[in-house]
Amino acid sequence: MTDYSGYKSFAKIAAWFTFIYIILFQFILPPNQILPSPASMIDSLGTLFSEYYFISAIGLTALLVALIPILGFLCCYVTRYYSPKLFLTYDLSSTLLFSFRFFSYVFLMLFMIYWFGSSWIAELVFLMLVAGLEQKIFLASEVRKINKDYFYTLKSLGLTEKEIIRDVVSKLLKPYVFEKIHMLFLLSWGWALIYEMISGSYGMGALMLQALKYNDLSILTLSIVIMIVVIYVSGLLFKLIEYKIISWIPDEIK
């Protein structure tokens, strides 16, 4: 089930990009105001840790983002009796609302920043709401694609609807839920950075904003590079966990 091809291609592209970057900006092009040389980035490492408090910034953002898949999984586990049934009733993905939902997320974000200021709990609540809504919309569209023959055959063998939803439908949806949580995990990084940049007092978003204010492009580039590595490694770790939990190929949703 678990597909690492995206990560493999990303690693290849990143390796080539790094190689070209080093050759161009370290050895060929003169120093410039846009992209720093690799040597100056290495020189900035000390400043990043001592003056910008990089560890606590990335630690906080990573923790907030990491809580999304964990809480998302718990949410699915707890509501496995009810969620597919509840969301069978209305398909949001077919409405206009579906296409414009990102605008409502931006509005919600601005509203929460205005209301709670720079609070990491408010950011967590915002990320949870976005992830939760996205997951429910996704479940509503995926549950329709499950082969209905499961219902008919198992019902004919004496299983109740509740048992079928709990023990079969939730299990059939699991690989897709994992795939969605994985996607949400990556998207949450984007949302978290925007949130922190706007609220501007903690986390990686604030750090990047500060570096931008001081026109410290070495710090900005370096923090982006380290953040990409952290996202890559944590995403890969998530895929490994998924592989351990789901070892079968779902052929039911086509």
Binding site: N147, D149, Y150, F151, Y152, T153, L154, K155, S156, L157, G158, L159, D167, V168, K171, S247, W248, I249, P250, D251
Partner: protein, 255 residues
């Protein structure tokens, strides 16, 4: 041993549905038939005549219909769909025990042996063939000691002729082993249907109706040689002729 005991009687079954454009369409009408204990009954019908819906109605998983179904006892009517529904994350044995929790280990093993999965008890259906998964579904149904097993064109997905024929023989064999259970098989494949049946109901479509009932005079024991026998071919041709008379020339039945 065939008996004259009626296990299931369908009286004037009629089913309507509303299509995407809002038109009410009659899928089938006034279907009446009886099924006798351990008599392998086949419904031969073209695509779109409502075979799958009829089986769902007979299994009581579809309740929106007109007419009446009378069963001889309260045992279940197990449905096997035309797409695989064995659970991929469970082993063969777990699949059976999942729906047959109350059934003894002996009965579960009997079902596994009967469908030919001895030695595969701990294998999972994940990435296995349609034939393997169909055997699991048969065992899962038979372990529950059903009154009737309703099979909906389940061989349609199996392209390999050898596997397909092995399963046809297996179905006849299961009908013999489980002599208190009756099999009803719905298909659009004339050869499969004729090979399996003791009784064959021929249906037309738009709306679905039973146009002919055949008592099949073929021997109990059936094998590959029967497919080329004069008796089999004559019977097949006469059913095909009747089918073509009753249906539009564009409608075909698999030979």
């Amino acid at each position: 041993m065939k008996s004259n005991k009626v296990v299931l009687e369908a009286k004037s079954l009629t089913k309507d549905y509303v299509d995407n454009t809002g038109y009410k369409i009659r899928l089938f009408e006034d279907l009446s038939f009886t099924i006798h204990e351990n008599e392998f009954t086949v419904i031969l019908a073209p695509y779109g005549s409502g075979k799958s819906t009829l089986l769902k109605i007979l299994s009581r998983t579809e309740t929106d219909f007109e007419g009446e179904i009378i069963k001889s006892d309260e045992r279940i009517s197990a449905l096997i769909a035309d797409t695989p529904t064995s659970l991929q994350w469970k082993s063969v044995k777990e699949n059976i025990k999942f729906t047959a929790k109350e059934v003894s280990e002996r009965e579960v093993q009997k079902a596994i042996d009967a469908v030919g999965l001895t030695g595969y008890e701990d294998f999972s259906p994940h990435s296995k063939s349609y034939g393997f998964r169909l055997r699991i579904e048969l065992a899962r149904a038979l372990a529950k000691n059903p009154l009737i097993v309703l099979i909906d064109d389940a061989l349609d997905n199996i392209d390999d002729e050898k596997t397909r024929f092995e399963l046809l023989v297996k179905l006849r064999e299961l009908n013999k082993i489980y002599d208190k259970t009756t099999f009803l098989f719905a298909t659009n494949n004339l050869t499969d249907g004729l090979f399996l049946s003791d009784k064959l109901l021929l249906m037309s479509k738009h709306p679905g109706k039973i146009i002919e009932r055949y008592e099949i005079p073929l021997p109990e024991e059936r094998d590959a040689s029967m497919l080329d026998s004069k008796e089999f071919l004559e019977l097949r041709n006469s059913i095909l002729k009747r089918y073509k008379e009753a249906n539009d020339k564009f409608l075909t039945v698999k030979i």
